[in-house]
């Protein structure tokens, strides 16, 4: 197996530190000495920050422009700005933290058997945090991430982060306020063309940085990953965070990728339901703590691995030319693409530092797992679907969905395995498709990676490198050997076959999504949004499944990979999307009135991907066993090997 480098491998169990300190109460009431700041000011009280943000030139200018645009009184816009700030801003105070911290630590003590932290990294971060703004960028799978990072910072005397959280959290009756007072600030999920909001938000974030009031924490994946593996990063916030460095307002910004790994995740079942298209339940405090007897369960261990701090200054050195901003304040295309690259790099670092616990391995590679031994799955199976949320996902077969929930929950754990050997798996997949020439392998590798670029997050521009590295690792592991141009399998332990099964479902899934979306352009055009398109695809899949349950794996119903596939098809201009562009930071110089919401619809425009897939001669029909077909469901599916080929030949035919 590939040898991943785990940085700072000396882990310390924080829970035992807690016990050593004499329990939660003693621990939380300890005197704390956060480091002095390098900024011109000492850390400011939240009211001062809000006031400074309001008075800032950027916000004042945005207000002025808004007054002109709306032709209204200034006080009106000012009032709105204050309201935005109130809704957005944290109300951090160390006393609040101590108060809530007591309760939270008590709960954690019960939930987990161990919370492991790589301690040496924290000491380095502590040193840096006094000098430069430090940004924690954890991988994000659960609410728990918020809490753990803050507690660990508290433990190591690092100024607690201001956490960028989604506005929906703020609405949680009690927890929302707890989070706010412990330093979370809340951003809208999207702010379209609301210039005033954007001005306030970016000023708010950047003031924290420039004054180094607090460390900052945000999730580059945007929200919690529901599928157990990384989500394609979002670029808006990281851009806002890096801007002060690019414009010379701070000497450096330190980014710390953090890998958060859990044996089990609080939200495991919720996610499975969500992925099947049940509307996301409102984030409520009771949903977080009370539901499903969270408190009475054993969540095993979790590992928090702080990666090597990345200095923005060193990272961008030689890549960008900052003095451009002496004339033009807007970020250039080059800068934006470098920032995107960095975002991917952060995700890569998170994955590289991930700790793989036995559970995902078990879900994936070992053949026979007795599902009946796994209590949570049983419970899931018994859970009636329509009780879960008020609304039903119309048109989806209840029974099928019930089965799918289980499959997906397991699958999500299995997914966290993927980043560890995704590249090798692609090569294994290609080799199983009888591709043996080195250059063809590379070509195929790049192609598959580009199709799955939302499933396997890699750093743009590094793809060829990754191919070489993966080949090297496979050779070193004695899986393959090469003579001249040709590569052949050695594969005594059938590793290739196992690896291959990690990727095959994704490819097959991709084809099925194409299949479901092909043909009826009129129907496609009626889909008003991506989410409508997703549930359309899900319905089509269920139809297929009902026709012949061996045609597809139930995990395919998961909305996340469907969304990814649709997005990739749109990116590749195979589907057309008339949705208004995703929000990007507007330029305050040229305010436009917001566009009226356009109707979104999909339209098929090209078929080139499928042709390329064919060209790769990927014999999707040949393999009968599909990796996730473990447990009950897969047993029955083994029989019908030929039918799965129908789907594929079918889809090719249709296109």
């Amino acid at each position: 197996m590939p040898n991943r480098e785990v940085l700072y491998p000396q882990y310390v169990d924080w829970l035992s530190k807690l016990d050593d300190a004499g329990g939660p109460l003693k621990w939380i009431t300890k005197q704390k000495h956060f480091p002095e700041h390098s900024g011109p000011n000492a850390a400011r009280y939240w009211k001062q920050i809000n006031e400074a943000v309001f008075r800032s030139e950027r916000v004042q200018l945005a207000i002025e422009e808004e007054v002109i645009r709306r032709k209204c009184q200034r006080v009106e816009v000012e009032k709105e700005a204050h309201a935005i700030l109130d809704k957005m801003g944290h109300k951090y105070s160390i006393w609040n933290v101590k108060g809530f911290g007591y309760v939270v630590t008590k709960v954690l003590r019960r939930l987990f058997r161990g919370i492991y932290v790589n301690e040496p990294a924290m000491k380095e971060i502590l040193k840096l945090s006094g000098q430069y703004p430090v940004i924690f960028m954890p991988s994000h799978k659960t609410y728990m991430d918020f809490i753990l990072i803050s507690l660990i910072c508290y433990e190591y005397d690092i100024e607690l982060p201001a956490i960028a959280a989604g506005e929906d959290f703020a609405k949680m009756a009690f927890m929302g306020e707890v989070l706010r007072r412990s330093g979370a600030f809340f951003m809208r999920r999207s702010f379209g063309k609301d210039y005033l909001y954007w001005a306030i938000f970016s000023e708010y974030v950047q003031q924290h940085l420039v004054h180094n009031d607090r460390t900052i924490e945000f999730f580059v994946e945007g929200g919690r990953s529901r599928t157990g593996k990384s989500v394609s990063p979002k670029y808006g916030l990281i851009q806002a965070v890096l801007e002060p460095f690019l414009k010379g307002d701070v000497l450096d910004i330190i980014l710390v990728p953090v890998a958060m790994n859990y044996d089990k995740i609080l939200e495991e079942m919720l996610y499975a339901y969500e992925l099947l298209g049940f509307p996301k339940p409102k984030e409520t405090t009771s949903a977080l703590l009370k539901a499903r007897n969270v408190l009475n369960r054993d969540y095993g261990k979790c590992f928090v691995t702080f990666g090597k701090p990345i200095s923005a200054r060193d990272y961008f050195n030689g890549r960008i030319y900052r003095p451009l901003h002496n004339l033009d304040k807007t970020l250039t295309m080059e800068e934006k693409s470098e920032i995107r690259r960095l975002a991917h790099f952060i995700v890569k670092e998170q994955n590289a530092n991930s700790i793989l616990t036995v559970w995902p391995l078990a879900c994936n590679l070992f053949e026979s797992i007795d599902l009946s031994e796994v209590d949570f799955t049983i419970k899931l199976l018994k859970m009636p679907i329509d009780k879960e949320t008020g609304r039903k996902n119309e048109g989806l077969n209840k029974e099928v969905m019930g089965l799918a929930v289980t499959r997906i929950a397991i699958d999500n754990y299995a997914n966290s395995m993927l980043p560890f050997c995704a590249y090798e798996a692609i090569i294994a997949f290609l080799m199983s498709s009888r591709i043996v020439k080195n250059d063809e392998l590379e070509k195929g590798f790049l192609f598959v990676l580009s199709l799955l670029n939302r499933e396997i997050i890699s750093v743009p521009g590094e793809e060829k490198n990754e191919f070489q590295k993966a080949m090297h690792r496979m050779r070193a592991a004695n899986m393959i050997s090469g003579k001249g141009d040709e590569v052949s399998k050695i594969d005594e332990w059938a590793w290739i076959a196992k690896l291959e099964r990690l990727i095959r479902p994704y490819m097959k899934h991709f084809l099925i999504v194409i299949n479901c979306l092909s043909g009826d352009n009129e129907k496609l055009a009626k889909l008003e949004s991506t989410s409508k398109a997703i549930s359309y695809v899900q319905q089509q899949m269920i139809l297929l499944y009902e026709k012949d349950y061996s045609l597809l794996d139930l995990t395919y119903l998961s909305s996340d990979p469907i969304k990814n596939a649709i997005q990739t098809l749109i990116d590749r201009k195979i589907l057309k999307n008339y949705q208004p562009h995703p929000p990007h930071p507007p330029q305050p110089q040229q305010p436009h009135p917001p566009h009226p919401q356009q109707h979104a619809y999909l339209q098929q425009v090209q078929q080139q991907v499928l042709q390329q897939v064919q060209h790769l001669k990927i014999p999707l029909s040949e393999k009968t066993e599909i990796s996730r077909q473990t447990g009950n469901i897969c047993n029955s599916s083994r029989a019908c090997s030929n039918s799965s080929s129908r789907v594929c030949s079918n889809s090719i035919h249709i296109l």
Binding site: P40, G248, V250, L251
Partner: protein, 597 residues
């Protein structure tokens, strides 16, 4: 010191430069800081008001802020040990100069004295190494006619010329390009040091370009005038040097920078003399050629005479000072002053590091009354006002003008300072602040005796970037120094020395103890380059007044853009096609030996 066979000379004038200036440091031979037998720092000679005084806090300051250890000395080599390369001979030029009755010499020491300015490189080279290429011959024109004559001779004998005024350059402008093969003539302007006339009606003064600042000012003062231009190097720098480098004086708020003061000049080039036919306050006659000559750094020709504005001596000159709780408050105060346009003749804001350094330079005072007063005021500031000793900083200022004018200025400034939590610090402290100005260059020599490499550099920057630029650059200097292996505390300090409508001039001091490093100077270079890059990334300029020389050439292209550099090159090749003025400052010219193309 030298292995030179024959010294060729003609009518060598006795010159202050050769007689009373140090060969390997700043200023007068008899004036320097030294550690006395008690282990305290004193200042020698009798030329300055700190001369003969003891500064008991200075050594501890050096120890604490630069990790200096008196036991570790890095003394300069002696002049006899200094290796001076033999001159490139050119018999023709000696003959021609003699024929024309022009003073010259190729004596090693005389050549050496004109081979450098005052960068840290120059000093390290003099003290511990050698200067790779020095002028081959020194000439002393006495008039514009002599300048023209020398130029003709140089052209026909294929020599290069580098004019030198006061030799105070801090941009390697005077360094002879290493690859220059021709005989290089250093044209010393020292004998062209007369005021030619004073025009009381128009308040102008015509002077020869070699006149030194302090002489010009002294003579104008004697007649009831001042020129108001007061760079910190006024004791040694010249009128021609100021124009060549676009110098700036500390009282520019009242009198203007050199480009504001300049009314007219004569400029001798290989193509002939440039001279505008009128001496008017302003002219609309196409692009201003004066602006091309200003800042030409000796690359285009020789400034021989200039007419500058003069002013009646002010009725009063008064110092003032304030303390502010933080540097940020001080910058805000300055920003507001500039907005209201109420700046007195000079204004300076020093950061906390420099404030403390200033305190360390205080002399021993036997008057108990003095010390009581200063400790009382210290108590007032720190205890009553709550200023923190490691945050506060100081503003010093100079008021000049009529009695009531100065009173009014002072009143307004005091009022404004209060708004920014400033506390008036009295006249004595203000005066004291400016005194430091003259000491600082001497102080570097003291540090160099104990392994310290130090330098100052400056920039201009828009108001909104002043604070971040100051913070970032200071932080960067410390960070780079650490990264490059500097083992002792690093001095990184700044002050805001000029205010303008749209921005300010920021001046940095940077020093570190090179003890334990094998390549201190290289490390110094890396840090200074990184600092300048950061300055530019923070919205600052390549230089506010020190100029480009050869030290900052690498940023010329990005500063101006290719088209402008092309224009500068075109001007150079038009006016000096044979590259007689071969100091290679500002830009590289294709075909010249130092060109990288």
């Amino acid at each position: 010191m030298a292995s030179q066979t024959e010294v060729l000379e003609n009518n060598v004038p006795p010159s202050y430069r050769d007689k009373i200036l140090k060969w390997n440091g700043w200023g007068y031979n008899d004036s320097y800081f030294k550690v006395n037998s008690d282990g305290h720092v004193t200042f020698t000679g009798d030329k300055y008001d700190i001369s003969g005084k003891v500064m008991p806090h200075l050594r501890p300051w050096f120890e604490a802020n630069l990790g200096v250890d008196l036991g570790y000395e890095t003394k300069s080599q002696t002049i006899d040990a200094f290796v001076i390369p033999p001159p490139v001979d050119n018999d023709e030029i000696y003959d021609m100069l003699k024929e024309r009755g022009i003073s010259f010499s190729n004596s090693p020491r005389i050549r050496l004295m004109r081979a450098h300015g005052h960068t840290v490189h120059d000093m390290i080279n003099l003290r511990h190494g050698k200067i790779p290429r020095i002028p081959d011959l020194v000439v002393w024109p006495k008039s514009e006619k002599d300048v023209v004559s020398i130029l003709e001779a140089a052209q026909s004998a294929h020599c290069a010329i580098i004019p030198i005024g006061g030799g105070t350059s801090v941009s390697s402008a005077l360094a002879v390009p290493e690859l220059e093969k021709r005989c290089v003539i250093s044209m010393d302007m020292a004998l062209m040091d007369r005021i030619i006339w004073i025009d009381r009606n128009n308040l102008t003064c015509r002077a020869q370009a070699g006149i030194i600042g302090q002489k010009l000012e002294r003579e104008l003062n004697a007649k009831g005038f001042t020129c108001g231009h007061e760079p910190d190097s006024i004791e040694f720098s010249t009128l021609g040097g100021w124009i060549s480098t676009r110098a700036s004086g500390m009282k520019k708020n009242k009198y203007g920078n050199i480009e504001d003061l300049l009314v007219h000049l004569n400029f001798v080039s290989t193509k002939g003399t440039i001279q505008r036919q009128c001496q008017v306050p302003r002219i609309s006659a196409g692009p201003d050629i004066l602006q091309v000559i200003l800042g030409s750094e000796g690359t285009l020709g020789v400034i021989t005479e200039a007419t500058i504005k003069i002013f009646p001596l002010p009725q009063v000159k008064k110092y003032g000072s304030f303390v502010f709780p933080t540097f940020e408050r001080g910058v805000e105060f300055f920003r507001e002053i500039a907005k209201l346009r109420i700046q007195p003749a000079s204004l300076r804001l020093v950061d906390n590091e420099q404030f403390i350094m200033g305190q360390a330079l205080k002399t021993e005072d036997n008057s108990w009354w003095h010390s009581l007063k200063s400790s009382l005021s210290k108590m007032y500031i720190t205890k009553w006002k709550g200023f923190s000793v490691d945050q506060m900083c100081a503003v010093t200022c100079v008021y000049e003008g009529q009695n009531d004018e100065v009173d009014e200025q002072e009143r307004r400034l005091n009022e404004l300072a209060e708004k920014f939590q400033g506390v008036a610090g009295g006249e004595e402290n203000g005066k004291y602040g400016y005194r430091l100005t003259f000491a600082i260059a001497y102080l570097r020599d003291l540090g160099m005796n104990y392994g310290v490499l130090g330098e100052s550099f400056e920039t201009s920057v828009p108001w909104d970037k002043v604070l971040t630029l100051c913070n970032n650059v200071k932080q960067l200097i410390r960070r780079e120094a650490k990264k490059l292996g500097v083992q002792y505390p690093v001095l990184a300090s700044c002050r805001v020395t000029q205010v303008y409508d749209t921005g300010a001039c920021v001046y940095f001091y940077f020093g570190f103890n090179s003890r334990g490093l094998t390549n201190g100077l290289e490390i110094y270079d890396k840090i200074e380059t990184a600092a300048r890059d950061e300055i530019i990334a923070c919205g600052g300029s390549i230089s506010h007044h020190h100029g480009v020389g050869k030290l900052r050439k690498q940023w010329m292209l990005s500063t101006h853009g290719a088209v402008s550099i092309g224009l500068l090159k075109a001007i150079k090749s038009e006016i000096d096609p044979a590259n007689v003025f071969a100091n290679a400052n500002l830009i590289d010219i294709i075909g010249s030996p130092h060109s990288k193309l």
